[in-house]
């Protein structure tokens, strides 16, 4: 290990690993620091991802695929279930293996990785971020860098130390809790979503199969709801009602920042990626694929900037991200704000209209137009969503 690197990445999740990999692939020196003792653990994630989202970065591999997903099941508050078949849609991952493999690709590209290295401050030179302070084995250390890429997750503090506004409105924070349980006899190729005031107001409840009747079961609720009832109590209620004796293999809490991307995700010597940059899809709460895309863009630009010795080049990252996904997330966020206000009746009537379409004809477009025709008031809601 050296005392100076071209690029330091803070956090070894999917976004951090991709930033490290795409930077290192350009021949610059990269160090990735992870605060936990393991890369990929603990897993704070529902673990579902689209196939396309994965394969942009790594070929599909059965060792990190827990379940292959072809169908989505939407469950309305009155119990109606609308199933939509998407074909070869995606996976439920085994994140603890998946994250390892992503970090391996970063290592193969040439980056160094250290775990249990807790970054607790930044170094500055002439107003620019010039490295990090970190704690390793109880010792306080420093390491210099031309660019620091913060991939330190929902709890990110590196960005604020660099002077970027990163704190997230508590109403946009989906506080989530999830168990991985055994003996859950659901279809192993279907993602189940539950909506309504009883199960997850202003959010959704999920059951994602993980093979052999294991499943990730959890929900996220906004801080506004959490004020009155916590995610934990919602989960307890659901489990007591539906699976009172299910053996619990893992229980985890987590936060999903369901908002648009931060106003600024780069500054002198600093770039933010993944949850730290709020690059999560605000509608679905999915952040693996979008985080990897953010990491790839940031790592590539940082590598180019160092190679060309033009460090100001990293400031082009904001626009590059915005063009690839940021703008789309703004649309998703408006849709989210519309759906957040849906009543249980509205969810029920949407489910009923989907059920009228024969299952083999339920494409996303058909579902959407049918829902609209049968629920004309939806048009008003959608119009509200798109009128800024």
């Amino acid at each position: 290990m050296k005392n100076e690197y071209d690029i330091i990445v803070v956090g070894a999740g999917p976004a951090g690993s991709m930033a490290a990999r795409f930077a290192a692939e350009q021949g610059v020196s990269v160090l990735m620091l992870e605060k936990d003792r393991d890369v990929g653990y603990p897993v704070r994630c529902g673990e579902a991802i689209s196939k396309a989202g994965v394969e942009e970065f790594i070929p599909s591999d059965d060792k990190w695929i827990a379940a292959k997903i072809s169908k989505f099941s939407f469950n309305a508050p009155d119990g109606s279930e609308a199933i939509i078949d998407f074909g070869d849609a995606g996976y439920v991952l085994e994140r603890r293996i998946f994250d390892y493999e992503l970090a391996r690709t970063a290592a193969e590209a040439g980056s160094e990785i250290i775990t249990r290295a807790y970054v607790n401050g930044l170094l500055f030179n002439d107003g620019k971020v010039s490295g990090v302070k970190y704690e390793l084995n109880g010792e306080q250390k420093e390491v210099k860098a031309k660019v620091v890429i913060a991939a330190d997750g929902v709890e990110s503090r590196v960005g604020r130390w660099a002077g970027l506004e990163t704190h997230i409105d508590f109403r946009d924070m989906e506080s989530a809790v999830q168990i991985t349980a055994a003996n859950i006899p659901v279809d192993q190729n279907t993602l189940y979503f539950y909506f309504g005031q009883d199960v997850a107001p202003n959010g959704y409840f999920w059951i994602f199969p993980k093979g052999h009747n294991k499943a990730n079961i959890g929900l996220g609720v906004s801080g506004l709801i959490g004020k009155k009832k916590s995610a934990q109590s919602f989960l307890d209620d659901f489990m007591n009602k539906h699976y009172p004796n299910a053996p619990v293999l893992t229980k985890i809490a987590g936060g999903v920042p369901c908002s648009i991307t931060l106003d600024k995700i780069s500054g002198p010597g600093i770039m933010l990626v993944g949850d730290a940059a709020r690059q999560v899809n605000p509608l679905s709460g999915g952040g693996i694929a979008s985080g990897m895309i953010g990491g790839k863009i940031a790592g590539t630009i940082a590598g180019e900037a160092v190679k060309q010795n033009k460090l100001d080049h990293i400031l082009t990252y904001d626009k590059a991200w915005h063009d690839r996904l940021g703008k789309r997330h703004e649309t998703f966020n408006r849709i989210k704000e519309g759906i957040y206000n849906f009543s249980d009746d509205k969810f029920n009537s949407i489910a009923h209209s989907i059920l009228k379409i024969p299952i083999e004809k339920r494409t996303l477009g058909k579902v959407f137009t049918t829902a609209l025709m049968n629920n004309p008031s939806l048009l008003v809601d959608i119009a509200k969503v798109f009128v800024v």
Binding site: S230, A231, G255
Partner: protein, 95 residues
Amino acid sequence: MNYRQAKNGKLMIEILPDKCDFCGCCVGVCPEDAIELKEAEIFIIDERCTNCSKCVWSCPIEVIKFVIKNGFLFEKSFQMKKMAALPGDPCAHFV
């Protein structure tokens, strides 16, 4: 009553580290950067906390709470509300 000191008054929020999952929701919503989180270690930085309560509302598993002492619940703006009879010693968790 011997409370720790927050930025503008007494610290009215406590984290129960024994029950914490170290997920970072509270750190993400804290407007003051007043929560320190390592791998399995968490604490409030007293001199930055303003008792705004956002961490309490965002905690998915209810391990951040308003301080309860002597049967009183201290909420933000430092109003006291008498609690219904509490089982056991409500002070047991707190420093």
